[in-house]
């Protein structure tokens, strides 16, 4: 019995390992390829050599900085996402709290409004929103990339359901002591809702770090463009050097990957607790 289970586990591991390797092979290929001379990326691709460098070089990484304003793209992405996530946490947690914990007429109505708006995908408003900001002359800066995504119904909903599940005793005590809802929120709720803030922060960061459509429509040039447009542009910029493109990719995903690995548990919790996205 014991032996059978051991063999079963071993088979399980073996299968998982093979499958996992296959699954992440595109990622391995990207990482390995980024350290190869350009010509070799293509010539090795059809063989297992694609995953084994025999001549490691960081030339591609140097090329990226020489041929593209990578630092600028990274900075732009950091600014835009920093504000979307930061301001988003504030705005959406306040709204979520008002919906979950305060008693007032019209609460249901507003809650239904949030749920209804959640159904509208961004793609359904991209063209008219593009038209509106364009006609207003609002283009090609950071704010136009930030503002549309601060108030985010999904985040409101995530906060709403988290606050709904919090024990009431703490805030009731505070309110009996005469603290108003705002004060209660900032002094009592926020410190006790760190997991919720962490979850929403990481979920929204993952959603917005890869934003491509909107900046494509409202930015030109490189001064405010974020990384996803950076890579798409870099890929069309002659001469076509695949090693450089892969190096760009590695550097582009590295920050978000690190953040994800560090805070993975909050993300999993965020997704799992509500089972919602998009």
């Amino acid at each position: 019995m014991q032996r059978r289970r051991l063999i079963g586990n071993l088979l399980n591991y073996l299968f998982m390992t093979v499958f996992a390797l296959l699954f992440i092979s595109p990622i391995l290929f990207m990482i390995v390829g980024s350290f190869k001379p350009d010509a070799q990326v293509l010539s090795d691709m059809g063989t297992l050599n694609a995953f084994f460098p025999d001549e490691v070089t960081v030339q591609n990484y140097r090329d990226v900085f020489e041929r593209a304003p990578f630092g600028r793209y990274l900075f732009n992405s950091a600014v835009v996402n920093g504000f979307i996530v930061g301001l988003g946490l504030l705005v959406n947690s306040l709204a979520g709290y008002a919906l979950a914990r305060l008693r007032w007429r019209g609460r249901r109505l507003v809650l239904n409004f949030v749920l209804a708006v959640m159904v509208i995908p961004f793609e359904a408003i991209a063209v008219p929103l593009f038209y509106q900001v364009t006609v207003l002359g609002w283009r090609n800066d950071y704010w136009v990339q930030i503002f549309p995504f601060i108030a985010y119904p999904l985040s409101i909903y995530l906060f709403y359901s988290f606050f709904l599940g919090m024990p009431k005793e703490l805030e009731e005590a505070a309110r009996i002591d005469g603290a108003g809802p705002l004060r209660t929120f900032f002094v009592i709720i926020v410190p006790n809702a760190k997991p919720a803030f962490a979850s929403v922060a990481i979920v929204t960061l993952l959603l917005f770090w890869g934003l491509y459509l909107w900046p494509l429509l409202v930015t030109a040039g490189e001064s405010v463009r974020p990384l996803p447009l950076g890579i798409a542009t870099f890929y069309t910029l002659p001469p076509l050097q695949w090693g450089d493109i892969l190096a760009f990719g590695v550097m582009m995903v590295a920050p978000i990957l690190i953040v994800f690995l560090l805070f993975q548990r909050w993300f999993v919790r965020g997704v799992a607790s509500t089972g919602l996205k998009g």
Partner: protein, 432 residues
């Protein structure tokens, strides 16, 4: 750190005015282009800035994939630069929309008189001169002489001696026999959309067809989907079906020696001549029945109506149109110099120069301008899509019928693009 971020957020982006003391700012948009061309242009901007103290030119590189979309949106948003580079034929649409200032009376006569007639022709819409180029383009077949000789293929001399389409097809067959994988032709499939209109619409004209009826520019019906155009595109499709065409994913089909022929413009001369040396020959495109035809026109400059001081943009244009600067640019991108004097001074384009063919094609009427109508952007995108569909095996007649439908529908929804009165030239005029 936070302070830095906040400071950056409030910095004016895009076009700024020259409010502060010091030089006035001149914003310029340029396309990403080939690296040599891009670097040369940026160096020209630097030289311009060093040559005088009043104006500081700043160039922004805009990726080509969505260039027109960016220009259109920025025009409405009032966020266009002072000086705009664009692919020549887009000017008709931009001028029709009132996006550009007339350039003819602003440039000194000595400058305009020196320009190639093809450039004047391309830059004129509604009898007004709107855009100027510092170079024109050349398009042909780059060939590996050794491979042609080995396959026993005649090497044509000059545009009059171009291969007939039958000769071209048998040349492809003979070359394919000598070739390991049978792929002997590079059509630059890795390029973006505009290239396909530029490079393959001359084929239609050579066959007796065209992109649109040029008498009034009101319909493409019977022209783009007429029997001549269909026949021509069937020939092109045949090259794909017979497996002659290299995908060119790495843009090294010709330089890597994989193919004997590369159908491309002047801008590859530098790279190709480095790779092939003496073996490189440049041939006219095949003759589909009415003599060889080739593309013309290239990226151009126009002053936008947002330019507060158009005279600053003019000074920049005068600077890059000086013979020395024109030569510096064509040295980098291989283009045909935009002035006759520069042509005669250019070691590549002068009599017996290696690229003389391109100059001859332009000066002796073998080149076809792209349609001079505000409908051009839609014509170009419809034809480029049709080209891809044909490449991928679509039925030629059906595909071209669909392209005609798209073009004609666009012209109809725009009431036939009626000529607009020239806008009063106010920098602040906002047209919403």
């Amino acid at each position: 750190m936070i302070l830095v971020i906040i400071a950056v957020l409030f910095l004016p982006s895009g076009c700024g005015g020259g409010e502060k003391d010091g030089p006035e700012r001149l914003d310029i948009w340029i396309h990403s282009a080939q690296p040599d061309e891009r670097e040369t242009l940026l160096a020209q901007v630097d030289r311009f800035n060093e040559s005088q103290k009043e104006i500081e030119a700043r160039a922004t590189v805009i990726p080509e994939g969505s260039y027109n979309g960016q220009v259109q949106a920025s025009a409405v948003a009032g966020d266009l630069p002072d000086l705009l580079e664009f692919d020549g034929p887009y000017m008709y649409n931009y001028a029709w929309q009132g996006m550009l200032l007339a350039i003819g009376d602003r440039l000194p006569g000595s400058v305009t008189r020196a320009l190639l007639p093809t450039l004047i022709e391309q830059g004129t819409y509604n009898d007004t001169f709107y855009s100027v180029g510092n170079y024109d383009s050349g398009l042909g077949l780059y060939a590996d002489r050794g491979k042609l000789e080995k396959a026993g293929v005649r090497v044509p001399e000059g545009p009059a001696g171009a291969w007939t389409i039958a000769e071209f097809n048998s040349a492809l067959a003979a070359l394919a026999e000598q070739d390991a994988d049978g792929k002997v032709l590079d059509l630059k499939l890795n390029y973006g959309n505009e290239y396909f209109t530029y490079a393959y619409s001359p084929v239609l004209v050579s066959a007796g067809g065209d992109l649109i009826d040029r008498s009034d520019y009101q319909s493409a019906d019977g022209v783009l989907n007429g029997p001549e155009s269909v026949q021509a595109m069937k020939q092109v499709q045949g090259w794909f079906e017979k497996g002659y065409v290299d995908q060119n994913l790495d843009d090294a089909a010709f330089t890597g020696g994989r193919v004997a022929l590369s159908w491309v413009g002047h801008w590859e001369y530098g790279r190709y001549s480095k790779a092939l040396g003496e073996e490189l020959v440049i041939l006219p495109l095949p003759d589909f029945g009415n003599g060889t035809r080739t593309g013309q026109g290239s990226w151009n400059w126009g002053i936008t109506r947002f330019a507060e001081k158009p005279e600053n943009a003019v000074r920049f244009l005068e600077f890059i149109l000086q013979p020395g600067e024109v030569l510096a640019m064509v040295e980098a991108n291989g283009a045909v110099p935009g002035t006759r004097t520069a042509i005669e001074q250019s070691r590549r384009y002068k009599e017996d120069g290696p690229l003389r063919l391109f100059a001859v094609q332009l000066m002796e009427g073998y080149s076809v301008p792209r349609p001079r109508t505000p409908a051009y952007p839609i014509i170009s995108s419809a034809f480029a899509e049709a080209f891809h569909d044909i490449r991928n095996g679509g039925d030629v007649q059906t595909v071209l019928d669909e392209a005609v439908r798209i073009i004609d529908q666009d012209i109809q929804t725009n009431n036939g693009y009626p000529p607009q009165e020239r806008k009063k030239e106010q920098a602040d005029h906002h047209h919403l």
